[in-house]
Structures are given as C-alpha cells and as structure tokens.
Symmetry: C2
Subunit: 443 residues, 2 copies
C-alpha cells in the first residue's frame, strides 16, 4: 500500500507497450496487452523480462495462455519464473504442461520448490490438497513469543511477500495450535506458544471437497484454514480467496459450457484450428440430435403438406419450448450450486416447475393461438398450435428442472449436457404435438 504515486486512471494508455507498462508498475495493463498477442508472440515478450516481472505477468494472463507461454520458453527460464509463482498456482500450471516439459522444469527448480510442487500435483484440483499453498508460518509449540517476534523481525521481508495472517504451531509436525499474528501483539514476550495459542484449531484433511470447504468458509470468517493429513500433520493452508476464485471459475465455465464452449476456455488469441475443433465437437453432437428430433416432422410430411401453415409454427414452438426449458435448467443449476436443492428432490422440483409451466404455457398458448387466428382466420389452427405450445411448455419446464438433477446423479456435467438433451426432447415432443394434433383434427 505504498505506491499512491500512479493513479488507477492511467491503467489503459493507448499505445503503451508492455515493457513501458511494467516499468510504470501497471501489471494489469501489461497483462491486458499481453493477452491480445498470440502464444508465440507472448513467449517472445516474456523471454526478455526478469523472472520476477515475468512471474507477475504470467500470474495475470488466463491459465491456458500461461501454459502455452511456459511451454515455449527455455525450461531453465520457465523454472525461474515458476519459482516466483505461489505454490498452488505453480502446481496448476505444471499439471497442464506436456509431461516432458513439466519433468525438465521440475528438475531445474530448487529442491524445496520441486518437492512442494510434486506434493501438490498429487491432489485433485477440487480438494483441499489441490487448493492449498505451501507458503505458511510454522513454529514449534515450545518456542517463546519473543523468539517468534525476533524471527518475524529477521525474516520480515520474506513473510511480507507470503501475505500470511496466521502462524501455525506444531508439535513434532502435528498441528496443535494457531496464533493470529495480531495476538502476538497482545501476549507477554516470555510466554511459550503453548500458553498463548488457540488450541485444537479447526482444520480440514487434504481430501476435503471444495463444496465442504465452501461451507467451512461460509460458516467461519477465517482468511485461511490449515490442511492436515489423516494423522494430523500440517501440510498447507487453504485460503478463502482460493476457494472463492475456484467457485467463480466454475460458475464462469458453467456458462461457457452451457453455450457450447466445451473442452477448455477459449480466447480468441488461440489458433483457428483449436478454436474450431472445440466448438465443432459440441456442434456435431448437436446436429445429430437435431436430425433425430426433426425426423418426427418427416413422419408427418403428409399432414404438413395439407396444412402448410403449420410449418411456420414448428420453429416457433421448438424455440419457445427450448427457452422455457432453459429457464428451468438455469434455476436448477443455480439452486444446485447454492445447495438450495439436493439432486434427489425430483418431486419438489417437478411440482414447483409444473405450476409455473401451466401458467406460462396457458399465456404463451393463448398468444400463439391469437397470432394464428389473426393470420389465417382459422380457429382450429389456433387451437392446435396453442394447445401444442401450452402442453409442450409444461413438458419443457418439467424436463428442464429435472435434467440437471438427473445428470448430476449420473455423474455427467449438467452444464454441458443439459441444453442439447433438453432441446432434443422438447423439439421431439413439440413437433409430435403440433403435427399429431393436426393429423387428428385438421386433415
């Protein structure tokens, strides 16, 4: 908090180059510029920086770019950049690198860093082990407050960098207490840590899931929570920020997936083929589902030929049912992620959805019936399309509300699969309702 000299207004100066921005301390501005370059050009810029500056920048670009950059640098330079990155992020980046590159980068790191990184790599990214950092303050239970204060004073530069709020107290490796730094202020210097520490502190084991970590941080106002193994040895610290940002990353990626960007984040600086392939994999599944749904129309070709006006309403009913269903999907996804519903509560969700579906179905059905009658003056046409849309809206919200729950129980990612599955089902039902009703009543 010691650089009031440059205001935040100057972050975006047109024409500033990345090195000028860095020299002015505008890391975020430099990262914005860097993010606009292709990975090869990014690596070239990074290669000319000091490891410290490079690390600051790498921490700012999206992970997928950071990995590409590191992959293209000489491994010794990549190792010194990663030496400046906080341990959990370091492990995340190494996990994404091709294994040969990762191996030779690890060999060039200093031993403690490499060891910490390998330890972190062994955890799934959505567990306490995968989210924790190895940078923390640890003291022995028999040390005095005075010796801790002296240690803090001697190593204050290093600790400042680590941004730690607590020190942890161990007895032969096992976590036995915690001491907020400010409590040191209030304690007599000759006491031992055992006398002043908070005993039996809350801790989580390394396998704790991110959902449980979210509950811990919702329930307590701690900045960080210590992570231990089964026998209680201190392994690291999970910070609130890491959990928050993992959650926000998940929310963002759910949105991307729901819109058909699957298989990793897309930024437009990636090569064309990567971007095409990712989008196409999802589109090609979708087109097959679409053909399946449209085959219902093929079955009723004759009906359609004799009442050609129905062709105008098929895309409307398909699209509107998709919209209603997606609203229900969105509410279910959100309630699942905020844990307002359990994946087993089919009946509750269905009852809540079918009532909304009835109200909205009647409203939309009347609207479309009115439109049909205004256009063709044909009451029967209005009745057919209105009834079809009304019933299909109820079907769509029922499916939409429950599809994410079913997928979640089956272990399939609801953000990817809900949309296409829902659309196929509602399209088939919608086409069948319109054309089936028409073949009974109008032909």
């Amino acid at each position: 908090m010691n650089d009031g000299s440059h205001g935040i207004e100057s972050i975006e100066q047109p024409g500033s180059t990345i090195s000028e921005l860095l020299a002015a301390g505008e890391v975020a501005g430099a990262a914005v510029e860097l993010n606009r370059l292709s990975p090869a050009a990014q690596a070239k810029v990074i290669a000319d920086l000091t490891p410290e500056d490079a690390a600051e920048l790498v921490a700012q670009v999206v992970d997928i770019s950071a990995v590409e950059i590191l992959d293209q640098l000489p491994t010794s330079f990549a190792a010194s950049i990663l030496g400046e990155v906080v341990s959990d992020h370091r492990a995340d980046l190494i996990a994404e690198l091709p294994s040969k590159t990762a191996q030779s980068i690890l060999e060039q790191m200093d031993d403690v860093e490499a060891e910490d990184t390998i330890a972190l790599l062994s955890y799934a990214s959505d567990t306490a082990g995968g989210l924790m950092v190895k940078e923390y303050l640890k003291f022995d239970v028999n040390q005095t407050v005075r010796s801790v204060v002296e240690d803090l004073q001697e190593n204050s530069e290093r600790y400042r960098k680590m941004d730690v709020q607590y020190s942890f107290v161990c007895e032969s490796g096992r976590l036995v207490g915690v001491l907020p730094l400010r409590d040191l202020l209030l304690s007599p210097r000759q006491s031992t840590l055992e006398d002043v520490m908070i005993k039996k502190p809350l801790s989580v084991v390394d396998s704790t899931s991110i959902q449980d970590l979210e509950s811990v941080f919702e329930n307590h106002s701690f900045v960080g929570v210590p992570v231990v193994n089964e026998s209680g040895d201190l392994l690291g610290v999970v910070n609130r920020l890491a959990v928050e940002s993992a959650r926000s990353q998940r929310d963002r990626s759910d949105y991307l997936k729901s819109q058909g960007i699957v298989g990793g984040e897309e930024v437009r600086s990636l090569p064309l083929w990567d971007r095409s392939r990712r989008r196409l994999s999802w589109l090609s599944v979708n087109i097959l589902l679409n053909i399946v749904a449209a085959s219902v129309i093929a079955v009723y070709q004759d009906t359609l030929q004799s009442v050609i006006a129905l062709a105008v309403f098929l895309p409307i009913i398909s699209d509107m049912s998709g919209c209603s269903g997606n609203q229900a999907v969105a509410v279910s996804m959100r309630e699942l992620s905020l844990k307002l519903i359990k994946p087993t509560e089919f009946l509750r969700v269905w009852l809540k959805e079918i009532s909304v579906g009835l109200v909205n179905g009647v409203a939309l059905g009347l609207l479309i019936a009115a439109a049909a009658m205004l256009w063709k003056g044909d009451a029967l046409l209005g009745f057919v399309v209105g009834t079809a849309l009304c019933v299909n809206t109820m079907i769509a919200v029922s499916f939409g509300g429950m599809v994410p729950l079913v997928l979640k129980r089956l272990g399939v990612d609801p953000a990817i699969a809900s949309g296409p599955l829902l659309t196929t089902l509602t399209d088939m039902c919608g086409f069948f309702l319109v054309l089936g009703l028409a073949s009974m009543l109008m032909v």
Copy 2:
C-alpha cells in the same frame, strides 16, 4: 479457529431442525434448511431467534429471501438484526426493502449505524462507495505506537469481530498513512504513527468503478483498500472479498439472464406468481421475435409446399445457427468481462469469428447435405440445405461475436439481450437462405 470439536461431515444431518443446527454452530446447515422454506415460514423461524443468531442466518440466505424475511418482521427486531450485519451488506438489504419499512427500520437503529447506512445507500452498488464497509480502525497521526497497542488490547473483542488487517492513520480526517497490524509488532512503542506508518498509501475515490477496483486488486495483493472522497477524507474500506464476490455474483447473474431469468434471482421458494411473471416477461418478448422470424417462412409458403422435405430442415438450421452464434456470444461475453477485448474492436472480433465460422460452416454444411442426400437421394436438396447452413453459420458467428459488443456500447445489458436478438436474426437469415435458394433452384 477454535472449534475443531465438530467436523464438517456433520453439516447435513437429516431431520435436524434449524434451531438444533444453530445450537450446534452449524450456521451453513441451518441456512440450507431455512432456504427451503417459504418467506413467511422463514420469518416465523427467525422471529424466535436472538438478533445475533438471526443476523448470522440472514447473512447466509440469498439476498432476495433475506429482504422478504426482514420485511415481515417487526421493524424493531429487523433493526436489531441489521445492527449485527456488516455495514455494506446492511445497506444492500435496506436498499431492497420497501421504502416505508426501510425508513422505520432506520429510525430504530442506533444513530451511528443509521448514519453509516444512509451514507452507504447514497452510492451505486458497483462503485467503491457501494462496496465499502464502515468498520475499520482509524488512529490519529500523532498517537504513539504504545497508545495504539493499548487501545487494541482494551477493545480487542470488538476489533476481532471486525476482522481488520490494517489500521488507517488520519490527520484531521484526511487519510495520510496506513499501518498493517503486524508492523505494530516490529515497531518501538514510543514512536508516533507518523514515524512508522506507510505514507501516501494507495487509495481509491468513492466513485471508482468495480472494473477499476478489480484492476487494483489484480495489481496488488492487498486484503483491502481505503476509500476516500475528493478531498482525501477517509470514508471506508473496500475489501478484496467484496469485489471478488460482486464479480462472481455478476457472472452468475449473467448466466441466469442468458437463459432467460431476468429481473432478479429466482429461487423456487418464491411465490408462483412472482416466478411466473419474471419468466414470462422475457418469454413474451421472445415469442414476438419468433413470430417475426417465422414470417419469413410464411412468405415462402408455396415453395415449401412444393418441396415439403425442406420443412424438416428449417428447425435444424434454426437451432444449429443459434448454437454457433451462442458460442460466439459466450466467448465475447467472457472476453469482455476479462477485458481481453474492448467494445470497439469489431473488426478484430469479426475476422476471428468469420474464420471459425467458415471452417465450422463447411463441416456442418457437408454433414447436413449428406443427411439430406441419404434420406431423399436428392443432390439438389443436399446442396440447398448444406449451402444454407454453411452461409448461415458464418452469419451467426459474425452476429454472435459482435452483438455483445454493440449492446455494451449502447448501454444495454448484453447478458439479457444477446440471445433473443441473435436467434431472431439468425432464424430470419436461415429461413430466407433455405427457402430463397430452393425457390431459385428447386421449384
């Protein structure tokens, strides 16, 4: 960090009542149960709690429920609950209450709290003023370290609750320095704050936007940043967490809006009519747009009647173009929110999109042409639908990539409007391409 006694495993005990869960300290578990009740039932439960317990719970439920609960409680009790809630959240809740209720709650609060709240209410929620808290430590520049340490010792309980990491140093109200609490540890007791503080600290003015705050926190590792007015008087502190959570709320709400949940968050415990109305407002705009798009089909009725097989392909082309376009929308939304593109870079976005659109359009076009030929053995039919889908995919990604940028420049929320606008445009173009081509080549 002093309650290791109950593990996180016990958070969800079936059958536990809210008060049992609260008694066991399981606030998050109690909040989950509370969130499942209707607002009226929630208010009944809350009314039986102490203000402290009630405040803990209210902080955990979604804001829309918290407001409903407060609205139904006696205003004096609502005032004492809000007295326990941190100032920025307090102001957010009061802002959402009906103004008469808000007024009488404010009258029953203690004077300082009411004054702080009214000050916070005057800010837009996405500015530093709207995100800051009024709970911070402030000392005078002429105080000694000893007097500060003594004050901390005397009021340690209150400060612990406030979860403050810095103390701010003022000279007749103006912010002149900052002192991390841990630096107090390392400073001689007889020094004045002027001697030991970090001078000219980074601060933001109260009108700073949330985007600029995000840059500040990306650029610096601070836990919080002081907020001042134009003349430099200290007004409050914006915490990193408040900015992070505002961002994550925005991401979540963008997802909901993109799926057609507009006009506030929906939870299924809200009354049926509220939920219906919110969803319907968006659906009814959408159905009108759909009718406009489908009118293109009506124009080409005769063509369609003579080549009825085309009717099968209309919904496929409409849906697939919508999918391709939505992928481009999602990438633009994300790049806008991560500031990887500026809302003025139409040409760059278009060039990046049209190339992906060409590749994917050719691939999808060939697929649908093959399907048409397999089904009808009609090469001309295959050519017409394949060409239409290919060209319309390029149109869809061009629109999709640019619509969020255009809406952003026009000041319209891209999360709400992008989807419907895109679908209408791509549907019209798609129907026109298929039927126009067919009327030229096939009839």
